[in-house]
Point group: C2
Chain length 294, copies 2
């Protein structure tokens, strides 16, 4: 496991230096001393599907087009990229409009959905389950050596998290290589931005792994399955329904992945245990996330 | 600061032994050994205001009545307890119905709201800001000795978090005493359950402190202000808009509260620095939350 840790192989990596994403704020610390603290931005972004206003999301503000596309895709409102004729972002109005060829079926469904459900935890659950019946995830295997390598690279990648904290990260990976690392104030947004990128670039999920800093809830499992990705891994823990849905759809669910430790609560059959956990170092200071950004 | 740590003074404390809230799940660890892991439950709960379906929340499932009341209150759909004539929970249907005397004004507002906004991060933001104009929070002072004492007690209180992880906590406190400690899979739910309890018990927020395990986002700050609570403290970090709104409404915002450390980024004037940070021990293993349940 003496692999080099290369944090430069990303197609999209966080840009912690981007001025628009963080702000320095004055305050005091426990001793009363004046401090300057970098904190992440949080902005409203209103997503339209054609003329229909769908949602206002609180987001850090990067990749609004991917966020809009991915949100609509993961809500089952966009089935494929063919239908999308344009995505327009207006920074001043903080609005993204996704345009599709046929407007009627999606928008009628939406009107029904927003009227009957709304949402309290980020998604319209009933509708999200819809696309999962009959879904078969690819049987691509997962080497534990890749899992450890991914975890080490991701934790050392310069990020808004390491700089300012209070943010979630999701990373689309293939083998031992992280491809697209998105961050956002809501973990749903980070995943939706990845889904939007996949839709735009016509990237298939079948040979991918999704890594997230967040908990493995039903919602995260459903989104991952809808993206066609057979493996979801996280530093954090599980919910019972997250595990149950992962088993139903045959998704491999890895949690509490820190240093040499992890737990697999679903989809064990994809695991190839080619790494000796005893050879994996505990997380050192550089690799350890700052603790409970809960 | 040699205060005794008493974790028994709660009006409502977590009940980690409650069978309905967690489940044991079989899996494997990094060595391939079979494991049994306790994970938290996550259930849908549909909230009705009279005949109008408002939202389906994913929740751990305890205190559904408080969750419904608090959600509606924090969304500005219930202005006071007078209007509430009943709260009915049906465990089998996973439904709570909140009944009020006058139905028209709230429900008309709702129909408009759910049609135009929906939500992506847990709340209908535009409408939540509505109740904040002209709000004045009480100037109750905050002793740093109380802050440290609260943090020590809360972190040692038996909880679902310590047992099963992957859950958020919010605690309503007064002085150095935690009163009501709610946990839930979504931190919004934990806070909403506290708001529902306050509404039911007609508890005033003016002399209270709200402690949360979650990040200090705009939404958390708005909810706290709407509950009339002048101080919000967290183990986690800040977002820029959270800080900005806290300053606008004059709320004291304490973040990254761990061991002797904290940052105050708004409402410094309420702080009475009566504790010597050097006398506060670093978090020991018993007091440390398990890390990033993000």
């Amino acid at each position: 496991m003496a692999r080099l840790i290369d944090t430069t192989g990303y197609l999209i990596a966080p840009d912690p230096g981007a001025q628009r994403l963080t702000r320095e704020v004055a305050g005091t610390d426990q001793t009363g001393a004046r401090t300057r603290t970098r904190v992440v931005e949080e902005r409203p972004l209103t997503i339209y599907l054609n003329a229909q206003e769908i949602v206002t999301a609180m987001t850090i503000g990067d990749y609004p087009e991917y966020l809009a596309l991915g949100f609509l895709r993961n809500q089952g409102m966009l089935r494929d990229a063919e239908a999308v004729t344009g995505v327009e972002y207006d920074a001043e109005l903080e609005v993204v409009v996704v345009r599709t060829t046929s407007t009627t079926s999606y928008e009628e469904k939406l009107r029904k959905k927003t009227r009957t459900s709304g949402c309290a935890v980020g998604t319209v659950f009933g509708d999200m389950m819809e696309g999962l019946e009959g879904l078969t995830l690819s049987q691509t295997s997962l080497r534990t050596s890749d899992l450890y390598a991914l975890s080490a690279v991701i934790n050392r990648t310069p990020s808004l998290y390491l700089d300012a904290g209070a943010i979630h990260g999701s990373v689309l990976c293939q083998g031992d290589r992280p491809l697209v690392y998105m961050e956002d104030v809501g973990r749903h947004n980070a995943v939706d931005k990845i889904a939007g990128w996949m839709l735009s670039e016509r990237v298939d999920g079948a040979d991918k792994i999704l890594y997230t800093t967040g908990r493995l809830t039903s919602e995260m499992v459903i989104k991952t399955a809808q993206m066609g990705i057979p493996v979801l891994a996280s530093r954090s823990g599980f919910t019972a329904w997250g595990v149950e849905i992962a088993r139903q759809v045959g998704l491999t669910l890895i949690g509490r992945l820190k240093g040499h430790r992890f737990l697999c609560l679903s989809g064990e059959e994809r695991l190839i245990r080619d790494a000796d956990p005893a050879s994996i170092p505990d997380e050192d200071r550089a690799g350890r996330r700052k603790g409970a950004e809960e």
